[in-house]
Symmetry: D2
Subunit: 342 residues, 4 copies
């Protein structure tokens, strides 16, 4: 019997990617699709890459429309999820791609988002220690941010194994879809093609406390995170270059072995063979994360580079992977294990 | 019982795309993978977007290696298919992505390729009148070139309905993967990014006689084709702008109706609603072709624009679609109906 | 003594390019810079590539601000130039980058722009027969559109020499800066990178009558023009593929000789050696147009491909070249003769 | 009287950029152009963006050809400069864009390049303390690497002012032209468009010791450098994100003031106003470096981001700037102070 899924926010990039993946999921039937400013429009005009849904018409994002589904995906600006979830009730699996329920520390939430803390839901990054257990029994999932997905997958094995001092320096390049579909001058093709630029520099990006929270959880101590996101001239993908000071005695071999062991059973996270480095082009459209590690002995730092597709593993794919777990389905069901390359 | 498929030329772009699609095909089991200069290498180093096949090792392209499969895909330079097919025998379905068996006119073949004509195989463009019938009973398929796929799908309804004078003027923009994976200076990223350039101008591209052959077959008369291919700064996709002089009495309505009727039952070819134009970004990674038509009354010309992914519908997807027909499977089985966008 | 120049519309792409070129012009001193919604802002925030003007502040576009200059460049939406020019008086050289004074036929103007015809000014394409004479004595210049520049340069020698039947079929690919700096969803980097798409298909683009007017003037008869513009994933550049039916007796040699002769003395328009084709990457930032010609004997058509930078030769460079003529300066003074490549 | 300049290695990207800048330099006359595999070819076929030199023919790189010039630019693979310079004699200004004479420590040279140390020449980064003095009297210039230019300009004010602990963590994104014009599969447009990837990870890139040498010189103590270069989908530009642990007492204000003071008189290095961040698109084709600084108080780190054009300020522009100083010309003469954007 099919799982009926609704998508709130179906006109944006995250919503479109959720739909692309749901269409390929053998156990899901796509129900209501909602938008706000786009309610009443054909999906074909908004998401022309999804011909099977071209004649679907967006409905307004209301409880009435979203009710009656087994799963509801929320791809909304932050601040809206709590009310929707409460109205839908406990029987529905709510998968929130927004930030509202990611941070555990209420003070941190308020510092970064300026509103009262709504709470915390089980975190949709199954690869983190303990995450699968929490997802198995929940009706509420907080899908991680795209940067936190890339960075946490890159660094958690090092911190879990005690290989790194608790200070990470991360620079990540993201494709422009991470900035959303709202038309802003600095996101015009003319501006971004042929150009790299940073933003949220100096610890100003809201994904910073989420990354710090994840790393602290595995390290068992506070981890400072210097995080600089940059906008790259490509539509999709995150390349995260993550470094941390190596603890005494760490060797290239122990580093590599720790990662191999931590990731051995992961279906979507792949430690590449020595000498091969991840490229975002290889993960486009897939739920994979590709990783490589190095020990810089001169600088005394561990360097880990990860590549994910910000919309797939970084958002919609992570959401469906977590949904599969919460629904008792095979974790990999319906998720793309290959990238579209070149 | 699964169909066992081998791929000869698995290290190139066409081979990689065939593998990507075969991995998602529910009835196919992937057998031998061959390469020439790359024999002995791990596929993971050559096609890093295909982790499920990362540990496969390429074998040399020999009859021994290719024997014992139900289907053999050939993604080889032209001139090699005849010998391979003969050695494999009549029981094996041979799907040739090269040019060897596309042209019917031996003199044309020799003019354009400089070698004796090897023959003609059923043409793997199911949408052409009569094509499905021929594919259903064959063990040999000549997959169309990527440009001929885009142009023929755009113009065949007009010629089949007698709406156009027999002279087509076509300008098509292709992503760089159409030029293959061999490293050549003019294909470097530094050269192609931010730059459009033509090639094979003045009727010099080998896909020209193939396009003319297809259009003549539906028009029932010789059709001259002015074809200019251009290289666009994108990895995938063909946008073909196709025009032909409108016959007397053709109106915008009759034009549109002819296309709507000709394409009504096609699973992968979509005439867009009025006012919406195809973009290659919307078909990336999909087996779809998106079309739009217009009548330019001032110039007296029909204008049809089509968008396909050169590697999917233009090569590997068209190949699997034809394979499905030849094997008696549902034509759409396992083929991507959605693009990866943005 | 320096020429003082003002730029109205200094915050957009055309305005920015005019400023870039004026900064390198040895006889020009940059005076007032105006904007509308951006009045009061630092230019450094709007045009960060122009550090020498970073601390200039935009003023409102008023007659008071623009008065007192020798030259005023107008980079405004159409419909505003007539009033500004009248207010400035006959002593000022007004160089209009908008469409208002390009079309000679009042009925055509009204058909395409929906407003009464304002008149016609000398046309800023010096390479056209007779254009330099008209420019030498004028205080008013209508700078051509970017597509008409690329297409007219490509086809005028053929029509002037009577080599072509009066029907042209043109497909041109433009970089996204041609669509301006206003933020629109379909111009987002996420949408345009990796994607080609057409617009204004079927003869609906406003540059069509301008192209037809130019070609008719040199052909001495009406020329029908089928023109399809496409948006390419690059910030700058136009590649125009232009074809016309060859008149009887035209050979590849006569074609080539006609072009060589017509362009022999042109400082900025270069017929490439046989075998070399133009690429937009080679003209980026330069005032050059690169051309190549071919005769397609099978199709009976002349094919000419031209590459220009839409913002330089296609707008700002053409404007300064025409300004130089009108001011009695050397035509090439201060204009970039080299592209920025790769 | 004009300075006569020869360029050895005129067919590559560095050579092409040197020629582009020399063509715009009012005091330079371009003499011999040499290549190796390309000797005998027209420059127009190799550097189509330089029409004024299109008919020049490349000569072989020999002492005879290079003799008789006032300045000789070397854009050769490392290992060739010493012999050429010796043969040319002390009267000629030799400007070496290769690595041979950059490193002072012979052991470091041998560790990274595997050959005996050839010596050290005055370093062509005029902005470094003491550099202009050394350049004024030299006939030998070692032009810095592109990454060291971007990173040193970003970090030297912090280390010179004693604001940072001696450990830098740098991640830099480079356009593909930094990898040169030799055709390699991983540099194909199909591979690099839409994809970011790292290389030389873990301290393996040869620019690392050069960066460390520069920073140590201003810091007065050894500085460890964790440097990760990444390849970005753009032809030109470097965006360097540079961080270092802030020393006690450093505030955002002292940080900003130190940079403002250190860069106040620099003609090409611009500290942007607060709130504005550098983008490589804004420096394309210019000799500018754009910088912004931030203090991340949570992480305790200084973050400086710089944008340069790897071929201009990062190679050819830096070379001409240093040449100007060595020849006693105005330092800014003939150098582009504006970028080509968008």
């Amino acid at each position: 019997m099919a799982v009926r899924a609704a998508v709130a926010g179906a006109s944006g990039y995250a919503g479109g990617e959720i739909l692309r993946l749901l269409l390929a999921h053998p156990e899901v039937e796509i129900g209501a699709l909602t938008g706000n400013s786009n309610a009443g429009e054909r999906l074909g005009a908004l998401q022309p890459h999804l011909p099977p849904l071209a004649d679907r018409v967006l409905e307004p994002t209301t409880t009435e429309v979203l009710a009656g589904h087994d799963v509801v995906f929320l791809a909304l600006p932050h601040g809206h999820s709590a009310a929707v979830a409460e109205a839908l009730g406990d029987g529905v699996l709510v998968v929130d791609c927004g930030a509202d329920f990611r941070l555990r520390d209420a003070a941190q939430w308020t510092r970064w988002y300026g509103t009262p803390h709504a709470g915390t839901w089980p975190y949709g990054l199954p690869e983190l220690p303990g995450a699968r257990e929490a997802l198995r029994t929940t009706r509420r999932i907080a899908v991680p941010g795209c940067y936190p997905t890339a960075v946490t997958l890159a660094l958690f094995p090092a911190f879990a194994a005690g290989l790194a001092e608790p200070e990470a320096v991360v620079v990540a390049a993201s494709g422009t879809s991470g900035a959303g579909k709202a038309a802003k001058p600095h996101l015009l093709g003319s501006e971004v093609m042929g150009s790299m630029s940073p933003y949220g520099v100096g610890g100003a990006h809201r994904h910073t406390p989420e990354i710090a929270q994840n790393l602290a959880a595995v390290a068992g101590e506070k981890v400072t995170v210097s995080f600089t996101p940059t906008l790259a001239p490509m539509p999709r993908g995150i390349l995260a270059t993550c470094t941390a000071r190596a603890r005494a005695g760490v060797t290239a071999d122990t580093l590599r072995e720790s990662y191999a062991k931590a990731l051995a059973d992961e279906p979507f996270v792949h430690l590449l063979p020595e000498g091969q480095w991840p490229a975002t082009g290889a993960v486009a459209g897939s739920n994979n994360a590709l990783l490589q590690v190095a020990l810089d002995e001169d600088a005394g730092r561990i360097v880990v580079v990860s590549a994910v597709d910000n919309l797939t593993k970084g958002t919609a794919g992570g959401a469906l992977q977590s949904m599969n777990i919460a629904l008792g389905l095979p974790e990999e069901l319906g998720l793309p294990t290959t990238g579209v390359a070149p």
